[in-house]
């Protein structure tokens, strides 16, 4: 689990479609352990995605829990038109949007941001690391500062390594709309990152 959590930039690990169908059939038959297996297979990927969408806070336990509560409640209605991973990605995105609407999370992010700054400016770290740490924190802030719809496509495309088709399925929009969002998101991100680089 921890190893999976430490993965970055890779597609979420998922049981293959056959296993998924078997798990769903077991769950439909009342086998609760099937849900445990689904959670074990997807928990790390859900946590990683939630963390990236929420601006890299240290604790995303509440959101992950909400995702799996919703999954448990809706699993009986899941028709298997997409993979479980895509379905859980969609739930995660919705839960993160809801979470971001709550102002409390912004405060958490500000605290995390302050923590980043403290880490960056502590005296024992070499200068180069300081610079890099500050630059990474700025990049994360730039991503976090994007509007939801742009941040989601950036995270899914560049950090979750999803294809345009997969993103379209996760967001329930057309591939063309994904391309448009990606283009606009990249432009905004470039603008913000260029400003950060200029600050250096």
């Amino acid at each position: 689990m921890q190893a999976a959590t430490e993965q970055t930039g890779a597609a979420p690990p998922a049981t293959d479609r056959l296993d998924e169908r078997e798990l769903l059939a077991r769950f439909a038959a009342g086998d609760e352990s099937a849900f445990d297996a689904i959670v074990a297979a997807h928990e790390a990927a859900v946590a990683r995605l939630a963390r990236r969408l929420l601006g890299w806070p240290q604790d995303v336990g509440d959101v992950v829990q909400e995702v799996f509560i919703a999954a448990y409640a809706g699993l009986a209605r899941f028709r298997g038109e997409s993979s479980l991973g895509t379905w859980l990605t969609r739930i995660t995105i919705n839960k993160c949007r809801r979470q971001l609407r709550r102002r409390a999370l912004r405060q958490v992010f500000q605290m995390a941001d302050a923590r980043d700054r403290r880490l960056v400016h502590c005296g024992s770290t070499p200068d180069r690391e300081l610079m890099n740490g500050e630059r990474h924190a700025r990049v994360r802030r730039a991503v976090y500062g994007l509007p939801d719809k742009y941040r989601e496509v950036i995270v899914l495309r560049y950090l979750e390594d999803q294809s345009v088709r997969e993103i379209a399925a996760s967001l329930a929009i057309s591939p063309g709309a994904v391309e448009v969002r990606l283009t606009r998101a990249r432009a905004r991100l470039r603008q913000r990152l260029t400003a950060f680089i200029m600050e250096d």
């Binding site: 959590t5 409640a73 994360r140 560049y158």
Partner: protein, 201 residues
């Protein structure tokens, strides 16, 4: 910025954010338990709402059947329901509803009367205001003020926009001479003084 550069920059920033805290070991069990509780609560809420709706509907049906059967209705003047039969709980409730309805009708009528009266008063006040506002213009003082004002405004125009200071001074002097008691004569005087000091009016 190239696509690959952006990807590397984001990847590095993501890796630099560190790893997540260890997830809770009993996540699946917790999610199952909470989802079950929420489902139970939602079911109870639906049942409660349904029961209330049924009760309300039954109440309405009984009240209507009572009113059709000619049961005594309370007079609009208010007071306790005259024909309330406390022997049967249903009859009593239906009478109470009719009594409340009559009471509400009476109060609504009173409110409407009060609103109409207030509207009449507002209208009368508006008429009085517009009359008093027109009065000063009809007075000779107002006419003098107005005439002086026209001369001063004309003088300002000559002085400020056309640069005809002597013509402006003539107009100010005329305002002072013709309407000496007005406020605008005082203004014209002040402008003349400023012009003498070399400022524009």
């Amino acid at each position: 910025m190239e696509d690959q550069v952006l990807r590397e920059m984001l990847g590095a920033a993501d890796r630099a954010a560190g790893v997540l805290d260890n997830p809770a070991p009993d996540l699946a069990a917790r999610a199952r338990r909470i989802a079950g509780e929420r489902q139970r609560r939602a079911r109870s809420a639906r049942l409660g709402t349904g029961a209330l709706a049924v009760l309300g509907l039954a109440f309405l049906v009984i009240a209507r059947s009572q009113s059709r059967s000619g049961a005594p209705v309370v007079a609009a003047g208010g007071g306790a329901p005259a024909g309330m039969d406390l022997a049967g709980e249903t009859d009593g409730a239906a009478d109470a509803v009719r009594w409340l309805q009559a009471e509400a009708d009476a109060r609504m009528a009173l409110v409407r009367r009060l609103q109409a009266e207030q509207a009449r008063q507002r209208s009368a006040a508006r008429v009085r205001q517009s009359r008093s506002a027109r009065e000063p213009e009809r007075s000779p003082e107002a006419a003098l003020e107005r005439a002086a004002l026209i001369l001063v405004v004309q003088g300002d125009h000559f002085s400020n926009h056309l640069g005809l200071t002597s013509a402006a001074a003539q107009l100010y002097s005329e305002a002072i001479a013709s309407f000496p008691e007005t406020r605008w004569a005082a203004e014209a005087h002040a402008r003349l003084e400023r012009m003498e000091r070399g400022e524009r009016g």
